[in-house]
Structures are given as C-alpha cells and as structure tokens.
C-alpha cells in the first residue's frame, strides 16, 4: 500500500507539530523534529534528530540471547540458521523504541562510534523522504560531525562511520542478519545499505531499502488505530515497520492520547 506525496507532506507537518507540543519527558530520544526544504521540491525531507545515549544497547542484546563471544563472526549465521518465527514476523507496529536501558557493569560498549560521539551519546539524523518511485516514505541515516576536535584526520573527511559500527550501534541482534541480507528470510524488514544519493543532500547516507515497504504496509494497515489522520496513521505504522531494525520508534505520547494536541 502506497502513500501519496500530499498525504506524506500533511502527515509530516502533523507529526512535527504534535511532537513539539509534547512535554520533554515524553519526547523520547528525539532531540529535534524539523522539515527541510520546500514542499514542492522532491528534495525536501523530515529530519528527526536522535541521540543514542552512551552505553545502551549491549546489555539489551545480551538479554535477547545473543552469544557475545560469537558476535563478530557468528551473529548473522546464528539468526539465519534459526529462522524462527519471531525473526520473520513483522515487528509490532505499536512497539516502543528500545533504548535507555541501564548499564551492565563490564559490558562491551558498542553504543558510541569513535569520532562521532560525545558525552551525550551519538547524534543521528533520521531523514524521512518520500520516494517518487516506490510511493512510500524512505528512511536515510546520517551522522553529523560532533562539535569537538576529531579523533584523526581521516574521520574529518568521513562523516559516515563504517557499516560495522552502525550495526553495532543501532541494530539489535535478532535483526542484524535480516538487515545485512534481507534474502536471509521471508521478512518485510528492509536491508540497511549505503547509498551516495540522499535525495535532500546529494551526499552519502545509510538507508533502508523501500522495495518491499508497500507489501509490509498492506499487512500492517489492517491495524485500526481509529480517528487518526490517514497519512499520520500510515507514517506511524511505517515507523513500526522499518524503525525497530535501527531503533527508531515513535515516542510515547504521540499516539497514546492525541486529544487536545495540535495537528
């Protein structure tokens, strides 16, 4: 199921306005929500800036049953071989984002990327565009350079951290195999890959491939949230479809009680 560009624009405006009315304690790990560019231009996009706090996800991965000792060379195979039903089912569209768990003493810290993180954590731009080809939203990820001296000269010219660091930072164990290689299972989770063509910036970015988004959305739209603007409902469900793989989800409050909010 597709989303037209006017529906996308309207939903993005509503989402931005509604987030700005949320009290800070309900804004989740979203630091800022902003629309870039002119509505008329296909290069415009919605930017959600997230801060993934330092030392977060490793202990969670451990809870999910990943074998830490085999993580580097075995995580993908493990998930692929298992092919259990939980790995291939679409994620719960209403699930909350997984973040801000407590620190496990002695756990390996995978949640920072050298040269891209500071004391707050790692700042991530989640840019959502509308694809004129697939007629669905597409999620691009970039990592703004931190405002402190860089670790080495090479990183100054490499705004994008290596793929391994991005997987370690954002992708929970059960999703790693699927996001590396979507053919590993009949899943609607898209592949996380590198592109040189962020539609808004014309620069490199990681992105979640949208070729199967329409199929996935068709299944999810059977969920009835009732009363929401159609486009915003789509965008919320879409984030539930593609977001969990990279830890992006709607903050609590966006859908919990829409009454009295602007939009």
């Amino acid at each position: 199921m597709s989303l037209t560009r006017p529906e996308f624009l309207s939903a993005a405006r509503t989402l931005t306005a509604r987030w700005q009315t949320l009290p800070a304690c309900e804004q989740g790990d979203w630091e800022d929500v902003r629309w870039f560019g002119n509505d008329a231009e296909e290069t415009s996009f919605l930017r959600i800036t997230r801060v993934v706090p330092t030392t977060t996800s490793n202990d969670e991965r451990t809870r999910e049953g990943d074998d830490e000792d085999n993580e580097v060379d075995g995580a993908g195979d493990h998930d692929h071989e298992d092919s259990d039903s939980s790995a291939i089912e679409p994620p719960d569209p209403l699930a909350l984002p997984r973040h801000k768990s407590s620190t496990t003493p002695g756990a390996r810290d995978l949640s920072t990327i050298t040269g891209y993180s500071n004391l707050d954590g790692t700042r991530i731009h989640c840019d959502i565009t509308h694809s004129p080809t697939y007629q669905v939203p597409v999620l691009y990820l970039t990592f703004p350079s931190p405002a402190y001296p860089l670790a080495n000269e090479k990183q100054k010219h490499s705004p994008l951290p290596p793929a391994e660091s991005v997987f370690d930072l954002l992708v929970p164990g059960p999703y790693q195999a699927q996001l590396r290689n979507p053919s590993a299972g009949p899943t609607n989770l898209p592949a996380l890959s590198l592109t040189g063509a962020h539609p808004g910036t014309d620069g490199p970015a990681y992105f979640l491939h949208p070729c199967r988004t329409q199929e996935g959305m068709e299944r999810l739209l059977a969920v009835d949230l009732g009363g929401e603007e159609e486009g915003l409902r789509y965008l919320g469900l879409w984030m539930g479809l593609v977001g969990p793989g990279v830890g992006l989800g709607m903050p609590m409050g966006m859908f919990a009680d829409g009454r009295g909010r602007t939009g």
Binding site: R34, W35, F36, E42, P159, T195, G196, D202, G203, C211
Partner: protein
Amino acid sequence: MSAPSSTINALQQKIWTGSLPLEIRLAASDCRTYDESDAYLIQTPRLSYLAFLLPRLHAFFAASLINPDVSAHEAWLDFEGVPLKWHYPLGLLYDLYSGVEPVHLPAPRRRTEDVGSSNIAQAGNTGIEPQPWRLTIHYSDFPGDQLIQLDGEGRAMQDSFINAVKEADFIRNGTARAVMSLSKQDSDQLWKSVQSHNLDLFNSVNTKLLHPPGTELRHVPLKLYLPTTSTTDPSATDSIPEETKAAGHIRVVQSLVPVQLASKQPQTLGTALNSVLPTIFPSRRNPLLAQPVLHGAAVPMGANLADLGRAAGYLDGFLHVAVVMLG
C-alpha cells in the same frame, strides 16, 4: 509506433561501444616527487564506472605515492575540484561536468528514426577529435560528505548497482519481483557483465528484467540531473543544510512517467520533460531553455520514451539524462 527490434538492438550496440579518453594525473599532495607524475591514459566505456579503474590506476601510481601503504579503494577522483560520484556512470559524469557541447543529431527523415541507429552513426562522424577528459586521482583528504567510501571487495559498488536495478524494475513493472526472482547465477552474471563490459552476457540477464512474464511495461525509468547553485530558496521552511551542498551539487529529479499519455499516444521524451519540469521545458516539441543530453548527444524531444528506455538505458536500467541549460 515502436521502433523495430533491429533498430533498438543496433542503437544499443552503438551506445555500448561509446567510450571516452581519460587522462588521469596523481594529485600533487599525494605525489612524493616534486615534479608531477606521468599521466595515465585510457579509453573507457561511457557506460562503465570509474571505480573499476582503481586497481590499474593504483598499480600505475603506487611508485609515486607519498604513502605507499594506502589501498587502491581509498582513492577518489575529481574534475576541477568536483569529486566524481562512484555510483554515476562515467558517461553521465562527463555529460554533467565536462562542459563539452553535446552532439546535435540531424533532423530525422522519418519519425520512427528518432532513436534510430543512423542518427547516432552520423553523430559519431562529426569530425571533431575528442580531447581527453583530465581527471585527478587522490589518496588523501577523502570527501566523505560527498562520496561513499569504497571497500576492497567492491561490495559498496555492487550494492549500489543492485539497488538501482531494483528501483528500475519497480518503476517498469510496479514490483521488483523480476530482480528478486533472478537466480544467484543470473545476479552474478549481471554484475560480471557490468564489470567486464560484456554486452552479450548483459543481455542474457537483462532480457529477463525487461520482459518478465505476465507483466506489461508501465513506466520508464528516468532520472533527470540538474546542476544547481549552492544557494537555496529563502522562502523555504528550513533550507537544506548548506554544509551538505558542495561544488558540483546536482539536483536529481524523478517521477513515475507512464509509457502512454492519457490520450493513448506514446510518451515522448518531450512530453515527459514537459510534464516533470514544465518551467525548464515549456514546450513538448522543442528544447527552448534547456536540452536533454544522453550519452553525449542532445536527444530529440520526439523520441519515443519506451524505445529510448530499451535502447539507450544505462546498465542499471535507467535513462540518466543530464539537463543542460541553453544560452
């Protein structure tokens, strides 16, 4: 009316033989000798990608490098300060940045020859000797904000190519099933044909993508490339961050372009351009303010778009058209 298959095949063959002379020099900042190193000269297919040259360029320049430990895939190329994107085919980069006037095709004798091989053949006999395109290869100061970082195994290039092939498939058929259902052998052969520039091998797989059973061509994969300035419209809600817009910034415009107009007439390049970029192409028949350039030629506005897609598509299935302003 569609052009006959023989015409399509002949034009495709001519486009596959199109090539550009390159003269590549090592950046002074990476060269350990005071005088610049020798230039590397090579004739390269327009349809190919610059990344494929890196192993031989590295072998040639290795002895001149300040840092002898640097890997071949850490290099990048620029033209007059504009980093050249790895995922753009060489011919598109040349049409966008070289500043060379495109070849103008003679007026067709018959309408069906709009995309006919004879036009291209004549276009190749203009008597103008092409000058080498002078590029610079660098091994330091990688512009990571503009280029994807390559890897030693070529995965980034292959991923980027396959993503584009999937998108072209989705545009043509409304689903990417034709690509997704390719066998591993076919997928490997497609990539191998791109790397080795082998038309027969390419067509053995590409035919399956262009004519999947039970589907009808809906749209033509078309990307339009417009040079832009770094200034943005002040009326914008929030301008796209300036730091992301570097020299050579290009605006890429895409739209779903049906093969037929509402009147059931075939879509031409002119009708498509007029519909997607009406202010730049106010006329469907004549290029008044800008001209569409493909494979170094100013394409006739009356060219049947579906035929053009079959005959003149790049390896990823797209018509990558540079929009060159007139006057």
